[in-house]
């Protein structure tokens, strides 16, 4: 008997050793010269000017077989503070509709959320529904690709009451990755701006000069150069930030976001940067920079007709900014063109159901309430976010907001003006999130270029290498 046990042990050790050796050889033979080639692949000239043209937009695929859970009497929701204006009325409606279900809403600070959510999701004991802002996790696309969230198409396809056409399609489909609808955008944002015709004319510019990504950036640089010494002149915004470092940082992050340049094509798992467009952007940011440590004296601005562009991210403000005192049809409202000159929105908040949830039916019920006309058309507290429900959004803005607002402000809007702005807000191609993890890489790697201590190519090469590693993890 002892001998048999000994033999078994001996064989097990031999087997373990053999497999270990095979694995070791496998690892180290696969770590030959091709490593650097793989990592530097994107640095090759062929790839240097690669664009995203071949990157396909998210498309839905046929859902895999799915076992729909039975309804339960519990629902746990994790969310971040500040979402209350949307989530609280939705939870109240849910409680009225399903009085037997015990609802627990856990609201965290951003920092707590970033720590608690991933740990609990991974342990399988997390929430049944998450409702977050885009920046609340480092990279939502990476999370989506782990399969930690359930494909919402399983629910939507089995729900006859649900009609996708009721929503702003481009923004709605922003939650699809690899054909699966892992997250459901609930609110989205468009970068809306107003320019002044008379100011443009004074500069020898026309509406055409701000109509595309390249032209707009070029115009901004020209105006900045021309008025650099005039403390009352603003290229962007109409605020009174006087700290150069703060202003530089704001311009950098805002321009990065509004450009909608894609850095990682998550759909095809590849780094895909339009280098020329990115360089134009970085050159613009560099040209707009003020020497750090300086205090900039500000004044004037658009009140005195000294502001090239100003942003109005809330709907009310946009209408007011565009038409508030637009006596001579002087103002031009537009959405900041993306690097492809397309209308691309930001996903502001989204909801998702974790795969490990035992109360998925209740989670979907609450999700549906979040997408219902009651919530989509409800008060968003003056925030800049647009609700995703197309029809209710339009009627809400038109009836509830514009009417009330225009009356209050004595603004007489024509139907044409309203339609034009509505078109800008709802006619979008897609909606995306630029993950905060990626923003950090760009900031870290491109700062030496902006400071003038490294060339663009040096910084770009490092950025590309870092992103290659990151997307491959």
């Amino acid at each position: 008997m002892k001998n048999i046990v000994k033999n078994i042990l001996k064989n097990t050790v031999a087997f373990l050793l053999m497999s270990a050796t095979i694995f070791t050889l496998f690892i180290f033979t696969s770590c030959s010269n091709d490593v650097t080639e793989n990592i530097n692949l994107s640095n090759s000239p062929d790839n240097a000017n690669s664009t995203n043209d071949d990157a396909h937009e998210p498309k839905e695929t046929e859902p895999e077989p799915f076992d729909m859970q039975e309804p339960t009497n519990k629902l746990t929701l994790y969310t971040v503070e500040m979402t209350g204006i949307t989530i609280n009325p939705a939870v109240n409606i849910f409680k009225e509709m399903y009085p037997d279900v015990e609802v627990e809403v856990k609201s965290f600070s951003g920092e707590e959320y970033r720590t608690i959510l991933p740990t609990e999701l991974a342990s399988g004991k997390g929430p049944d529904l998450v409702f977050s802002f885009a920046s609340d996790v480092a990279d939502i696309y990476k999370m989506m690709s782990t399969g930690i969230f359930v494909d919402l198409n399983h629910f939507i396809n089995n729900d006859e009451e649900f009609h996708i056409e009721d929503y702003v399609e481009g923004a709605f489909n922003g939650g699809i990755l690899h054909g699966k609808r892992y997250i459901m955008p609930v609110e989205y944002g468009i970068s809306t701006w107003v320019a002044f015709r008379d100011i443009l004319e004074n500069e020898g510019l026309f509406e055409e000069d701000i109509s595309t990504y390249d032209k707009l950036l070029n115009t901004m640089v020209k105006c900045h150069e021309k008025h650099k010494d005039d403390p009352e002149y603003y290229v962007m915004y109409n605020d009174y930030i006087t700290d150069a470092a703060q202003l530089n940082s704001m311009w950098f992050s805002d321009l990065l976001k509004v450009s909608k340049i894609e850095f990682i094509d998550y759909e095809n798992n590849k780094v895909s940067i339009d280098k020329d467009k990115f360089k134009t952007l970085m050159d613009t940011v560099k040209a707009l920079r003020y020497p750090e440590g300086e205090t900039i004296s500000r004044g004037g601005g658009w009140w005195d007709g000294k502001c090239l562009l100003t942003s109005f991210n809330s709907v009310n403000n946009l209408f007011w900014g565009a038409y508030g005192s637009n006596k001579n049809n002087n103002r031009i409202a537009f959405s900041f063109p993306s690097y492809k000159d397309e209308a691309v929105a930001d996903i502001i908040s989204y909801a998702a159901i974790p795969s490990a949830s035992q109360n998925q039916v209740n989670a979907y019920r609450l999700l549906k309430i979040l997408l219902s006309p009651e919530i989509q058309g409800g008060d968003n507290g003056g925030y800049s976010y647009l609700r995703i429900g197309s029809l209710v959004l339009i009627s809400a803005i038109r009836e509830n907001k514009i009417v009330a607002f225009t009356k209050e402000m004595h603004i007489d809007l024509t139907d044409e003006q309203v339609d034009s702005l509505m078109d800008m807000l709802t006619n979008i191609k897609t909606a995306k999130i630029l993950p905060s993890a990626v923003i950090k890489f760009i900031t870290d790697e491109m700062t030496p270029y902006l400071n003038g201590s490294k060339t663009f190519d040096e910084c770009y090469s490092r950025l590309e290498t870092t992103l290659e590693l990151y997307k491959d993890e």
Binding site: A20, T21, C31, N38, T146, I148, S355, L469, Y470
Partner: protein, 297 residues
């Protein structure tokens, strides 16, 4: 008959002793099961499934994915390169210094304390100290500037590898020195006295007495150095961040970043591969030790 009764008694006692022994071991066995065996089993299970939300068995697909991943290849290559350079280097330096200290040179106690000092320093302080030294406007670049030499970018460039190597050697040499010193002190003086009587040179004493007799310790020190080299990720992470220069992107970066991304499938595959590699290395070292030494530790 009496013998039989005695045997039964003895067997009963032995069984009781075994049971007592087992009960004493039970907390450790449970701990081992809870914290090592079961998680290891779960790790193997996860590594063979499709995704976190889908437990479909996919065989070795995840292994193939990880092994084909450029990030994993780079991490494995760098870890191998770092260990291949760092371990021989730390062994040579620590042995050399131990031999010098073993001579009971003047200031022996001072040097011994100095070498232990990096071990007791908190990591955060060590990293701060290295930042001051290797920063773009740090101590070394200031010295280079005084010597009219162009400053070197130590952090966020391929020179990071050198910085990490210096950090590893600085932090861990002291520990190895202590171990080597205890090994050297365990060699009976009589061997050296006999060798001296036979007219043996210093070299002969070193190669014929010292090195063979400390060999079993040496293997253990190599294993400890290997483990410590994996631990140097902590410093690398604080000093260079989660995505450092390509030259020091180690296997632990790969694992840590996958943990952050919640990609536990890849993390599990990585962990099993690392386990197998370390298992093989330690096994080879132990086999070599057993073959080479009659001396028991």
């Amino acid at each position: 008959m009496i013998q039989e009764t005695e045997m039964k008694k003895s067997s009963k006692l032995s069984r009781r002793e075994s049971l007592t022994g087992f009960l004493f071991c039970l907390p450790s066995i449970l701990g081992m099961l809870m914290f090592f065996v079961i998680p290891f089993g779960i790790t193997i299970y996860l590594s063979l499934t499709e995704s976190m939300g889908n437990s479909k068995f996919v065989g070795l697909k995840n292994y193939a994915d990880v092994l084909n991943s450029a990030a994993f290849k780079l991490a494995a290559k760098n870890t191998f390169r770092f260990n291949a350079i760092a371990i021989p280097l730390i062994m040579a330096i620590s042995l050399f210094v131990s031999l010098l200290l073993f001579k009971k040179l003047k200031g022996y106690n001072f040097f011994r304390t100095t070498f232990i000092f990096p071990l007791v320093l908190p990591v955060a302080s060590v990293v701060l100290f290295f930042q001051i030294i290797f920063n773009e406007t740090g101590l070394i670049n200031n010295i280079l500037e005084l010597l009219h030499i162009a400053p070197v970018q130590w952090i966020n460039s391929s020179n990071s590898f050198v910085v990490l190597m210096v950090l590893y050697l600085w932090k861990n040499t002291g520990y190895n020195i202590i171990l080597f010193l205890s090994a050297l002190n365990s060699i009976p003086r009589a061997y050296y006295e006999a060798a001296e009587l036979d007219g043996a040179s210093q070299g002969a004493k070193l190669f014929k007495i010292t090195l063979p007799l400390i060999m079993p310790y040496t293997f253990i020190i190599i294993v400890i150095s290997l483990i410590n080299s994996f631990k140097s990720f902590r410093e690398a992470f604080i000093l260079f961040g989660s995505h450092p220069d390509q030259s020091i992107y180690m296997i632990q970066h790969f694992m840590n970043n996958n943990f952050q991304n919640l990609n536990y499938i890849r993390l599990s595959v990585g962990a099993i591969l690392i386990f197998l590699v370390i298992f093989v290395l330690v096994f080879i070292l132990l086999r070599l030790r057993n073959k080479g030494g009659d001396i028991e530790l």
